[in-house]
Amino acid sequence: MAIAPNTRLAFSPLHRLQWEESQNKYVILYPEGMVELNLPAAETLKLCDGTLTLKEIVLALETQFETSGLWDDIEELVHSALEHGWIRTLS
């Protein structure tokens, strides 16, 4: 199901996103588990702070990486993060 561009996204209060020096990676921590993130996933999830909408997040990333046409990739990533429960939508 497509996510509306004006949906605000927030990181889950039941997970923690953290930089791990020893692994040189961002990770998501949750009860008795950990997921290692690649750079695009980490940069996207860091922007899920409850204030930005999906559209604003894509724009911010396009500016950050000096590129365009990221919509499909970011939407797919956000969709998967929602399914995992790492982030949630605010109406």
């Binding site: 039941l14 921590l29 008795e32």
Partner: protein, 376 residues
């Protein structure tokens, strides 16, 4: 060639701190050592703070605070505050018994991330019988308070012959209490559970029925509650990759400071596990004989030695091999290729016979009196 990969190397990611062996409950499947009463000399607060710091510097990120009952340690908030400052994700693994709302709030403020509580059964009399303590109503109210204060909650139910027929009720209870995760932990037969195996081990039909109920429920609660199912390995035909490989990921520190590659390893003869009072965590992890003992494939016997699956399961569990065959270097007898596989069959048959006896052997409850008695 399959099976020719080197043994995995890595730093500890998981630190399990068993803060105390003291516990108000008496569960007859407890994984603590049977002779725990003689290891009652607990580490000081400063020792634990140093252990947390040293393990974190090596890359440990998940911290389990367990026991016994970790709530008994008066310095728990101080330990949590220090660990959170270091960047650990902190899991409190508790019975829930004696956890007041005030403490739930204080521990959150100190930086605790998650609380796992255990419930023995979905009804009062069986729960209290298994726990050896009137604790059912309190545990349920503690579960609700944990959710009220915004923690993620894991509800752990250890599964065995006394409660396996209540699988549906267990699942409904977990959903009703708002658990984010339900851990259905089929009993692993170490420690007190090994002692009580004839009274605890269900038969294969009971397992299959319970698993089918749990699998069906998974669909029903998808997106709301995750269900972890710890497989009953005596009914498998390949062993588990115990601890994700000896000395690759996990570090346990027992209440007396003994550092263990897994929380059962104290039973292995001649392993000479080091103590955190004598060595740094780095020395223990990199240099101690105990942590290097099975950190390769050289110790293996046949059929493991030439088996292509040895890089996947590392020969299974050393403690299970020792408990069931008397030889810690043997293939885990759960493996259908093990020459000692018959000990597993015998254990299953023995438990089935025992279940049919009109006067069943009573469960031996985990308490200091029994620990001292069985030690001698």
């Amino acid at each position: 060639m399959a099976g020719s990969e080197p043994y995995p190397r890595g730093n500890p990611r998981w630190l399990l701190a068993e803060l105390t062996y003291a516990c108000p409950l008496q569960c007859p499947y407890c994984s603590n050592p049977i002779d725990y009463a003689k290891h009652s000399n607990e580490l000081s607060t400063d020792d634990w703070l140093r252990v947390f710091t040293e393990a974190r510097a090596m890359g440990a990120v998940q911290l389990g605070l367990s026991g016994g009952e970790p709530l008994i340690r008066k310095d728990l908030p101080e330990l949590i505050r220090h660990a959170r400052g270091l960047g650990y994700y902190i899991n409190l693994i508790t019975s829930g018994y004696g956890l007041s709302e005030e403490k739930i709030v204080a521990l959150k403020e100190a930086g605790l991330d998650h609380i796992q509580i255990s419930i023995q059964a979905p009804e009062v009399s069986l729960n209290n019988y298994l726990a050896g303590t009137e604790s059912f109503e309190e545990k349920k109210s503690v579960a609700r308070l944990i959710k009220k204060h915004g923690y993620p909650m894991v509800l752990c139910v250890v599964i065995h012959r006394e409660n396996i027929h209540l699988m549906q009720e267990i699942l409904e209870m977990a959903e009703e209490l708002g658990a984010d995760y339900l851990e259905l932990a089929n009993t692993q037969y170490y420690g007190w559970a090994h002692l009580n195996r004839d009274q605890l081990l269900p038969n294969k039909e009971q397992f299959e029925q319970a698993e089918a109920i749990a699998q069906a429920y998974k669909e029903k609660v998808k997106g709301r509650m995750k269900i972890y199912y710890v497989v009953p390995d005596l009914y498998e035909d390949r062993p588990k990759a115990c601890m994700n490989g000896w000395g690759t990921t996990f570090l346990t520190v027992a209440p007396d400071g003994m550092a263990l590659p897994c929380h059962e390893a104290r039973i292995l003869p001649g392993l000479n596990c080091p103590n955190v009072k004598d060595m740094s965590i780095r020395e223990i992890w990199e240099e101690s004989d105990a942590f290097n003992r099975f950190r390769n494939f050289e110790w293996m016997q046949e059929p493991c030695k030439t088996c292509p699956e040895k890089t996947k399961d590392f020969g299974g569990c050393r403690c299970q091999a020792f408990l069931m065959t008397g030889d810690m270097n043997a293939t885990d007898p759960v493996c259908s290729l093990s020459p000692k596989r018959s000990v597993v069959k015998d254990a299953i048959e023995h438990a089935a016979t025992s279940a049919k006896e009109p006067n069943q052997k009573p469960l031996v409850f985990r308490n200091s009196k029994n620990s001292k008695l069985l030690d001698g």
